[in-house]
């Protein structure tokens, strides 16, 4: 087990460097640069800028320098935001995304699991239909529709919640609901399907035949197998939630990492793009690893050698 984890952790490093290299290449291929604007700059000014940022050096020198810095975990300064280091920017903005992401994750889990389990237990009941219909709606309504609808009602109709920006807990309510809706719906449907399948399986019948209480059967035996699809879904989903979702952050003007990431691409802010990409790729890989580990605990059939 430990060996497996170590092996996977070690693989993360070359993988992240590969991702960074590919991204770097893509940025270089993409036309445009961080200093261009609607106004064409005089050649002398362009030359000054290129000299200042070392862009006049051959590409391999620039690549080597970048890699050397990244290995030391120093992504340098942002090109767009003067005097702010990439590490500082990620450190500053990740918590915003993470707060909303974790809250949305918890909300989605509570809603999704409850709805899914109850729906599975009371299959074909009113609650089953209702919750699954709602889940369908949650899946179909994109967050860029749901967010503004919530704003329209609570902020501009009733004037009870702030329409945007970061602030006290009241600022969190709508972004978290907007973000959680899709995930809750997805989790509910996965849980329901997973539970239905497990509840029909032989080992549950055996458990019941042994005379175990219904609660034990459900929580100890059925749920463990039933939520495996949920786990494989929510692992990477959590990584995505933590990293910030662009739409929700834009709609609610939240200074999260997703917002920063998209802006950095539009700005051609190379160090910032590379920094965020490296950070996110590591995040995703770590969460995939965690999911794999979790399988081991949930499914007795899986063993790591």
């Amino acid at each position: 087990m430990l060996k497996f984890i170590l092996k996977r952790l070690i693989i993360i490093i070359p993988m992240a460097l590969l991702v960074v290299t590919v991204t770097w290449g893509l940025i270089r291929i993409a036309p445009g640069n961080f200093y261009s604007g609607e106004k064409e700059l005089p050649a002398a000014i362009k030359a000054n800028i290129e000299k200042k940022y070392g862009l006049d050096r051959p590409w391999y020198v620039q690549y080597g320098k970048m890699m050397y810095n990244i290995i030391r975990l120093d992504f340098g300064d942002s090109l767009k935001y003067q005097g702010q280091s990439v590490n500082e920017i990620i450190k500053r903005h990740f918590p915003y995304s993470a707060t909303i992401g974790i809250l949305a994750y918890i909300l989605a889990l509570i809603l999704g699991l409850t709805a899914g389990i109850v729906a599975a237990l009371k299959q074909n009941s009113f609650f089953d239909y209702f919750s699954m219909a709602l889940a369908m709606l949650g899946l179909s309504v994109p967050n860029f529709v749901l967010g503004p609808l919530l704003v329209l009602f609570f902020s501009l109709g009733l004037y009870i919640l702030p329409p945007a920006r970061w602030g006290g807990p009241s600022h969190l309510i709508m972004p978290v609901i907007t973000l959680a809706a899709v995930y809750a719906a997805y989790i509910a449907r996965l849980t329901r399907a997973g539970m239905l399948e497990v509840l029909r399986s032989d080992y549950i019948r055996t458990a019941r035949a042994k005379g175990l209480s219904e609660t034990t059967v459900l929580l100890k035996h059925a749920l463990r197998g039933g939520i495996i699809p949920v786990v494989s879904f929510t692992g990477p989903a959590l990584a995505g939630l933590l990293a910030g979702t662009v739409v929700v952050e834009k709609v609610f003007a939240i200074p999260g990492l997703g917002n920063i990431f998209i802006q950095s691409v539009f700005n051609r802010d190379e160090p910032l793009i590379l920094g965020v990409v490296a950070f996110l790729s590591i995040l995703v890989m770590v969460f995939n690893l965690l999911v794999d580990i979790a399988y081991g605990f949930l499914d007795p059939r899986i063993r790591y050698e």
Partner: protein, 743 residues
């Protein structure tokens, strides 16, 4: 079960819809949009656009930053809140020499940085030099290129010294083609008939120009002789240097790239080749630029060529006073709130990137008693709907220009006490790649321009003003008067002027003239054999650009029977594509003026390496502009500029479509904030009115309304310059202070 599903869905849909209408129903009941409550404190909340790149006024380029930074850094002159024309700020008054090359600014003595240090001429000189330094690599460096040797310093050029004398620019300026050569003929300094090619220097070895003291008369001084003989008593050594004929500046070939540029330069100008043999290169340094500290409170700026708009240019944040010690101590970290020292009416209190930036009134500011707001909080945002929501909810007092989505315009404009749509100092137009057929023919270009119904475009776009002229309309009234006069002299009457906006008949005739087969059908026609597949209309991806492009495309189809393909590209991809003129046909462009003068628009076509992205250049146009800028009388100058505008549009390298509109909102209790052409708000004029009866009404006419509080403040500020001008005029302008015209 299916039935049940659909019922449930219907139920949910109804709930959502009812929520939606509940939201809408609460609107429109009052004369204001959304929540309007009298603020309890004296703090203004404002959205200025995307996250500021920096708080260094010489680093940033965007409008969002500019609006913040004019509050943080005081300049010699401030924007007039209504017109954006320069009014006294750190300079109480200023004067211009007769040759229009020298500007002398008299500073007030009570100026203070936010840490209490006095602001002197030395601070401005240092700031200007820093702004132009190649190491800073400011993207706005070109704003200082009018300052003598400013461009040379910023471009890392050197003076060429031979036998202790400096080569002069005018001797190598025959070819107007080398703009890199700084090859501008000194328009005022008379050309000596037997021009001596080499200027003498009194001291070969000293490289600090201050000590060089080159005499302007080459025959009277020789190497090693002190220059005092020829110098008039008022001239300092620096003045002798800066007022002597412009020296040749060029990039010293050091590596492969500069060698190449150098070879190209020499190849173009054989005269240069022989002259440059064995020269010594003396790098142009910060101290060489035409900025001089005359005394602690007098700053003199010398230009390389007359630029009557120069004082207006100094309102820009780029020319703000910076605190040298802070910058030298902290490097790029000087802008952090814990380090920063500012010079404006406000200072930084707190900066949470991507969240909010709070600036508070600075008690050290020389005019602090007239600063009415305690603080301004800026929120970095650029999502239109989000901004409108937050404005409606009453958490924001005002928003920046272009924030009202076009689709909302019809609804929003009913809120007459809040919504403002005024002309902006910006032109939207399409460029032509004039060197690539089929638009290489002027008739074809004119036909394309005339075949677009700009009246309909104005109705369709809602927030623009139709225009077929390049200098925006409704911003420079005096210029427009001059333009009317000049155009009339060319036979363009008011009637003809209208036809410039749309004239399909003439467009068809022009196409015929260009040699195409035209089948006429009333006023419209079909150009049968036009190679439409060869051209495209390119634009950068944005909803509004797409709307305009599709509109224009339809117009060409209707009126000329030509189907032009559209091509859209992501902004940063599009920019190099357009500027390198890789496109064939037309490309979308917009130009926002850097200062309040028509020249900021017309200069786009100036010099062979101009920024017009068209490939167009005409030396005659350059001559007209030079002539205009050498004219002291503003009316005559505008007439010459209008002449130039007419001239360039006769060639139609671009087809102007519209003057942009500002389109923004403010709550009625915010007073002293005006829809000026750049939505640039000098914060010290703004105040919060708690008395409802005094709130702004009908803000579309706000520029004509006079707010006594603001007018009084303005009058007091402008008095020093007015008094000074009055004192100068009766005794004629030949004052002793500016007798440096070369003789």
């Amino acid at each position: 079960m299916r039935n049940f599903y659909s019922q449930t869905l219907l139920g949910v849909a109804l709930v959502v819809l009812s929520l939606f209408f509940a939201g809408c129903a609460t609107q429109a009941s009052s004369k204001y949009w959304g929540q309007v409550e009298v603020p309890q404190d004296n703090v203004m909340h404002y959205i200025t656009g995307s996250e500021p790149e920096s708080l260094d006024p010489q680093f940033v380029t965007g409008q969002p930053e500019a609006r913040i930074l004019i509050g943080l850094y005081d300049r010699l002159v401030e924007y007039h809140p209504k017109t954006m024309q320069p009014i006294p700020s750190m300079a109480t008054h200023w004067e211009t020499s007769d040759n229009l090359l020298e500007y002398t600014f008299h500073l007030r003595k009570e100026g203070r940085f936010s840490n209490g240090d006095p602001i002197t001429a030395e601070d401005f000189a240092w700031s200007f030099r820093r702004a132009l330094s190649p190491e800073l690599a400011s993207r706005y460096g070109f704003l200082g290129y009018d300052i003598k040797y400013g461009e040379a310093y910023n471009s890392g050029k050197s003076f060429a010294k031979k036998d202790g004398k400096f080569l002069l620019a005018k001797d190598f300026a025959e070819k107007a083609g080398d703009s890199d050569n700084d090859g501008k003929i000194d328009p005022i300094g008379e050309k000596k008939p037997d021009a001596v090619k080499i200027e003498e220097s009194d001291n070969k070895d000293v490289t600090v120009p201050k000590l060089e003291a080159d005499a302007e008369n080459p025959t009277s001084t020789k190497a090693g002789v002190t220059p005092d003989i020829t110098a008039t008593k008022t001239e300092t050594e620096f003045q002798q240097f800066i007022n002597s004929p412009e020296r040749l500046t060029l990039v010293k070939p050091t590596d492969e790239k500069s060698q190449k540029a150098f070879d190209a330069l020499v190849a173009e100008n054989p005269k240069l080749k022989t002259a440059l043999e064995g020269v010594e290169y003396v790098l142009v340094k910060a101290e060489d630029i035409g900025v001089e500290v005359v005394d602690k409170y007098t700053l003199q700026v010398t230009l390389r060529q007359p630029a009557p708009y120069f004082t207006g240019l100094l309102t820009h944040q780029f020319f703000g006073a910076l605190h040298r010690k802070t910058i030298e101590k902290f490097g790029t970290a000087w802008i952090k709130p814990e380090n920063i020292v500012t010079s404006g009416a406000f200072k930084v209190k707190e900066w949470k990137p991507y969240d909010e930036l709070t600036i508070v009134k600075d008690p050290m500011y020389w005019d602090a008693k007239n600063v009415k707001l305690d603080a301004v909080v800026f929120y970095p945002m650029d999502e239109q709907t989000t901004m409108m929501n937050i404005y409606k909810s009453g958490r924001i007092d005002a928003i920046y220009n272009h924030t009202v989505p076009a689709a909302w315009n019809d609804y929003i404009k009913q809120f007459k006490n809040e919504y403002m749509l005024h002309p902006e100092v910006a032109t939207e137009y399409y460029t032509f790649s004039v060197k690539k057929p089929p638009v290489d023919k002027v008739e074809v270009r004119k036909a394309f321009s005339l075949a677009v119904d700009r009246d309909a475009l104005e109705v369709y776009r809602k927030t623009i003003k139709k225009s077929a002229e390049f200098v925006p309309l409704g911003i420079f009234p005096d210029y427009e008067k001059a333009r009317k006069k000049v155009y009339e002299s060319h036979g363009v009457t008011a009637e003809e002027m209208k036809k410039r906006l749309f004239n399909p008949e003439k467009a068809c005739d022009l196409m015929e003239k260009a040699g195409y087969k035209v089948q006429k059908n009333g006023k419209k026609c079909k150009v049968a054999d036009f190679p439409a597949d060869k051209i495209q209309l390119s634009y950068n991806t944005a909803e509004s650009n797409k709307q305009v492009a599709e509109f224009v495309q339809a117009q060409w189809k209707q009126n000329l029977g030509i189907s032009v393909q559209l091509k859209n590209m992501e902004f940063k991809t599009y920019l190099p594509y357009r500027s390198a003129i890789q496109y064939t046909g037309m490309a979308r462009a917009g130009w926002v003026g850097d200062y309040m003068d028509p020249y900021t628009f017309l200069s786009q076509f100036y010099s062979p390496k101009n920024d017009s992205s068209t490939g167009y250049w005409d030396p005659k146009f350059d001559e007209l502009l030079d002539k205009a800028n050498n004219t002291k009388d503003p009316t005559k100058r505008f007439e010459l500029l209008a002449e130039a505008e007419f001239y360039v549009l006769e060639d139609q390298p671009v087809m102007p479509l519209s003057t942009s509109g500002t389109s923004w909102m403010k709550k009625p209790y915010i007073k002293g904030m005006y829809p000026n052409p750049g939505t640039m708000h000098p914060w010290k004029f703004i105040y919060i009115e708690k008395d409802r009866s005094k709130w702004d009404e009908n803000v579309d006419q706000i520029l004509e309304q006079n707010d006594p509080a603001v007018e009084r403040q303005l009058e007091a500020l402008m008095k020093s310059q007015k008094d000074f001008e009055k004192s100068q005029n009766p005794t004629n302008n030949k004052d002793t202070e500016s007798n440096k015209v070369e003789e």
